[in-house]
């Protein structure tokens, strides 16, 4: 069973069986952003550095950058959320993933927050 972890930027990151990472934003993030009306995703094959802005999400309220949780190569993007940004509000932690990436060597998945640590973070907000 794939393990899902979280960043302090309210992204979820799922470690797939093949070693790739699937990245999206959390339900908390979509709720805080409000109705999402536009998403710009990175190009496939782009090399990104950990912490680099690689996507933009715009709601009726504001524009927000989405950061790479790891260094690596963008392997696939989810065109569904580009076509229908409202999908992020409806299913942030399911169908509305943003991209899949191959993390660079040395990436430590365990360094991300687990569900319990993320819930604890939310309680401080």
């Amino acid at each position: 069973m794939a393990d899902t972890r979280f960043t302090t930027d309210h992204e979820w990151v799922r470690l797939e069986d093949d070693g790739t990472l699937t990245v999206g934003i959390t339900d908390y993030a979509q709720d805080a952003l409000g109705d999402i009306v536009f998403v710009e995703l990175p190009e496939v094959d782009r090399e990104v550095a950990e912490g680099e802005s690689c996507a933009t999400v715009e709601s009726t309220k504001a524009a927000s950058d989405i950061y790479a949780p790891a260094s690596g190569r963008i392997a696939e993007i989810n065109e569904l959320v580009v076509e229908d940004p409202g999908l992020i509000n409806r299913d942030a932690q399911g169908e509305a993933w943003f991209w899949r990436m191959e993390p660079a060597d040395g990436f430590d998945f365990e360094s991300l927050m687990d569900e319990e640590a993320y819930q604890a973070l939310l309680e401080t907000l």
Binding site: G34, D35, V37, F38, E40, T60, K61
Partner: protein, 342 residues
């Protein structure tokens, strides 16, 4: 909720898109009590107010309202406001962020300036607004766009205008603060009415092509540049007896250096305020002052200023969004047609 000009403002209730749709299809209730409510007493009030604004205040009949502008000596817009003639006084609604400066400006010229801090302001907007309000105050049905009247709503003495900031039919209702919650509850109890926040008010006014003070107009923009020349009364235009009159006359005669236009970007990316506009050669052409994705149209829309030679409809321009040039066309406003009860 968000802090603004000393007020705590409701940004959204159920969600901006749902609230926006309510105003376009049913009725939405906005709490805009942060706006400044001011009345001017005295036989001279209209004549003296005309020294500060280009509207035909002296010619405004009792029971009518108009949109006008406080101008500075350079013809720049210090604020935009509504002025109603209530018979024995003028009633003004001004922007919250400008209210303190506006009141000082008025008091420097006029005696008899009363600030109504004890009144709330609600806006009921949408195609069902008239039906809803008529159930509580039947006289509201006979009002036309920009009419004003004193109406009793749920026993409260309300000052009502048939106007708003969404492009839809609707009313703005000034209520004694002590009665505001009761009146709001009565309006919200009607099945067509949903509460709406200021985020929806912004997307609605943008679709309607209406200016947001501080974004689309400010002390550096003239009414002619802003496309608000219609707010200059005919008699006033002939007399040019308002601040900045000579500069505005020059711009009317020879055209302003820049104009406020609507823009429709290709693609899905919205251009926000501050986005640079470039011409076909990539040279600086202007700046976006407001932008969003239109909830009604499902496409991005924006308002900005461009060099006057680039202002005609369908001119091809570029918008620099996150370092990339996105094509856009100058487009007629409003983006969504007005539906006022004229």
């Amino acid at each position: 909720m968000v802090a603004f000009a000393g007020w705590s403002l409701p940004v959204q209730y159920s969600g901006t898109l749902a609230e926006h749709a309510a105003a376009r299809t049913q009725a939405a209730l906005f709490d805009v009590s942060h706006m400044g409510q001011v009345s001017l007493a005295g036989a001279d009030a209209a004549r003296v107010l005309e020294r500060l604004v280009p509207g035909d205040i002296a010619g405004l009949p009792p029971g009518r309202q108009l949109y006008t502008l406080f101008l500075n000596d350079a013809g720049g817009i210090m604020d935009d406001l509504m002025v109603a003639n209530d018979g024995d006084r003028l009633f003004l609604v001004v922007n919250a962020a400008c209210a303190a400066a506006d009141i000082a400006h008025l008091r420097a010229h006029l005696d008899g300036v009363t600030v109504h801090e004890d009144r709330a302001l609600l806006a009921l907007q949408g195609p069902k607004a008239a039906e809803v309000l008529a159930r509580l105050a039947p006289e509201a049905a006979a009002m036309r766009f920009m009419d004003v009247a004193m109406l009793a709503i749920g026993g409260a003495a309300c000052w009502v205008s048939r106007s708003g900031y969404t492009g839809e039919d609707g009313y703005e209702v000034s209520i004694p603060a002590a009665d505001a919650e009761h009146v709001a509850e009565l309006l919200l109890a009607e099945p067509e009415t949903a509460p709406a926040g200021l985020a929806a008010r912004d997307t609605l006014r943008l679709e309607a092509g209406l200016c947001l003070y501080g974004n689309d107009i400010d002390a550096t923009t003239t009414p002619i540049e802003a496309g608000l020349g219609w707010a200059i009364g005919r008699r006033r235009r002939a007399a040019l007896d308002f601040p900045g009159g000579a500069i505005i006359a020059e711009q009317i005669a020879h055209g302003p250096p820049r104009r406020r236009v609507g823009l429709r970007p290709e693609g899905r990316a919205p251009a926000r305020a501050g986005t640079a506009i470039v011409d076909g050669e990539g040279e600086a052409a202007g700046t976006i002052t407001s932008g969003t994705v239109s909830p009604t149209l499902g496409t991005p829309i924006c308002i900005g200023y461009v060099r006057a030679d680039l202002a005609p409809d369908s001119t091809s321009l570029g918008l620099m969004i996150r370092g990339h040039r996105h094509p856009a066309l100058v487009a007629r406003m409003p983006f969504v047609p007005h539906r006022y009860a004229r």
